[in-house]
């Protein structure tokens, strides 16, 4: 769906992004993470055919952004960091205008607009002036304009910014529903806001991609994350020595001990959960719970961005 090779964008002397390369498959939901000023918006604007790259190749659906921007524009829906709304229009008139602008046939116009309003829960606000809407509703109109013409690729730049917790949950639910039908690229500077809805993440820092992968892959990219939490019943000391005997285990600590139950924390190099359980069973210790101690995504993000800053 999207192929980006060596994408670089200069604003005057300053490089906003340099030498970005990534590919996105059809139907994926990709999270684009980075602190403010990391280059997220610039990258998304290039993909949205708003800005032209200084160098590098960007292909969307087989079309090149510099050579066939029009073909791409027909296939994408773009929500910039500030929703591009005309305050003096009503929600419905605005969406009709956008749909027409993006080439929706006159016969389909009303159906598409109704559908977009239904998906974003705007149907009962259709006659209201955009200037009278609250921030949350404005953001929804922004998403509605991006999907009104049924694009294959949706580019949403910080759709959750400035929303309250309830609205964030609603926005996440909306993005989840879009999955499958559309390929979605969604950016945020707050990881928690888009965690769990993305198939993969790209972490960008000072214009460069510093990490990529699924939530689990990102956590294993960091040394501290090969930790496993176990709950066992039986002799705790016996369990500790059995675990230490497993090759690849660097540290075992007893985190909690109560009434014959012990919570253990094991630091390993790589994925060793199966080996750990086997060793415990062989030592005649009952295993009640095995958990990968997933370093919370938020921590990973902070570590990644601070480590390179």
């Amino acid at each position: 769906m999207i192929q980006v090779e060596g994408l670089t964008k200069f604003y005057g002397e300053r490089a906003a992004i340099r030498d970005l390369s990534f590919t996105i498959e059809k139907g994926e939901v990709i999270g684009f993470l980075g602190l403010n000023g990391a280059g997220k918006s610039t990258t998304l604007k290039v993909l949205g055919c708003v800005l032209l790259p200084t160098s590098g190749r960007v292909r969307i659906d087989g079309y090149d952004v510099t050579r066939d921007p029009h073909e791409i524009r027909k296939r994408i829906g773009f929500l910039p960091d500030t929703p591009p709304l005309y305050d003096e229009m009503t929600v419905q008139a605005y969406l009709r205008f956008v749909a027409e602008l993006r080439g929706v046939a006159p016969g389909e116009l009303q159906r598409r607009v109704d559908e977009a309003m239904a998906r974003t829960a705007l149907s009962d606000r259709r006659g209201e002036l955009i200037s009278s809407l609250s921030h949350g509703y404005r953001q929804r109109v922004g998403v509605a304009q991006a999907l009104v013409h049924g694009p294959r690729l949706l580019i949403l730049d910080e759709p959750t910014s400035g929303l309250d917790p309830v609205q964030i949950v609603e926005m996440r639910e909306l993005i989840r529903q879009l999955k499958g039908e559309h390929t979605v690229l969604v950016s945020s500077h707050i990881l928690g806001e888009i965690s769990q809805i993305c198939d993969r993440y790209l972490v960008i820092q000072q214009g460069e991609i510093i990490a990529r992968g699924t939530e689990a892959e990102l956590s294993t990219q960091l040394g501290s994350s090969g930790a496993v939490e176990l709950e066992v019943r039986g002799d705790a000391q016996l369990a500790v020595s059995a675990l230490k005997a497993v090759a690849g285990v660097s540290d075992v600590t007893i985190a909690h001990l109560e009434g014959g139950l012990a919570a253990l924390r094991v630091v390993t190099a790589g994925e060793l959960r199966a080996e750990l359980v086997r060793a415990l069973v062989a030592a005649n210790v009952d295993v009640l719970r095995v958990d990968r101690s997933a370093a919370r995504l938020e921590n990973i993000f902070l570590q990644l961005t601070h480590g390179k800053a």
Binding site: Y11, G12, K45, G48, C49, V50, L51, L52, T54, H70, R73, K74, I76, F78, P80, D81, T82, P83, P84, L85, Y86, D87, E88, M89, F97, V98, E100, L101, R102, G103, Q145
Partner: protein, 240 residues
């Protein structure tokens, strides 16, 4: 074509639904009426056609100044509020954006022209003027308005704020207005060129009831250059 009309329609609706456009036209009408009373009508033994010619002269100046203010928001406002990204990310050519905006402003300006019709009507009621003279004058006004709006569109394309857009376009139209001052200190071949740049020199024939192709082409050419430049500015802004 369809996109031009689509953008023009939305822009015109924005003019009609917000106050600023009406206020500008109201001020233009007020000043026009005032000047008409103060300068066009008085005078001993003035012919009706002379009053009409004076009316067109006054109105052309007001049209030029008004065009600067009417057009300042066209592109600068979209850049300010971020809606330009919507047009940029849609399958629309930059030329279509520029032409649509220009067309909307021109149609709105026609509201002003319509509202000034009572003045020539008064002259016609109390004196004797030919319809051809009125037509020629209004054609001239339309061309002056188009030129002013085209320059204003260019200024608006260059700027981030409406104030800056008005200042830029104001400077450009002022330069076109006062070009003849430069003609006073230049030598022969250059003098003709500099004098030819001043727009009111080309309006002179229209206000006295004469339509001349070379004067029509002047306004068309200046408008074309300004709109073309505005399009290039929009294109260039994608690179930075």
């Amino acid at each position: 074509m369809k996109n031009i009309w689509l953008i023009a329609r939305r822009e015109l609706a924005a003019y009609l639904r917000t106050m600023s456009g009406y206020i500008i036209i109201a001020v233009m009408l007020f000043i026009d009426g005032l000047l008409f009373n103060a300068f066009a009508i008085p005078g001993t033994a003035k012919k009706s056609s002379e009053i009409l010619a004076d009316f067109f002269m006054l109105t052309s100046g007001i049209t030029m100044v008004g065009a600067v203010f009417l057009s300042m928001r066209l592109i600068a406002e979209e850049r300010q509020t971020g809606t330009l990204a919507l047009l940029y990310s849609s399958p629309v050519h930059d030329l279509e954006i520029v032409l649509g905006k220009f067309l909307a402003a021109l149609l709105f300006l026609c509201l002003f022209f319509t509202a000034t019709l009572y003045m020539p009507a008064l002259v016609a009621a109390y004196g004797k003027v030919s319809l051809g003279h009125i037509f020629s004058g209004y054609l001239g006004l339309l061309l002056v308005g188009a030129t002013g709006l085209a320059i204003g569109t260019f200024g608006s394309a260059l700027s981030k704020s409406q104030v800056l857009a008005a200042v830029l376009s104001g400077v450009m139209t002022l330069a076109l207005t006062t070009a003849w001052l430069l003609g006073k200190i230049t030598d022969r071949p250059l003098t003709d060129i500099v004098n030819g740049l001043a727009w009111w020199g080309h309006f002179e024939a229209f206000r006295t009831g004469v339509i001349h192709l070379k004067h029509v082409s002047y306004f068309v050419l200046v408008s074309f250059i300004a709109l073309f430049s505005a399009t290039r500015v929009l294109e260039a802004r994608r690179w930075r």
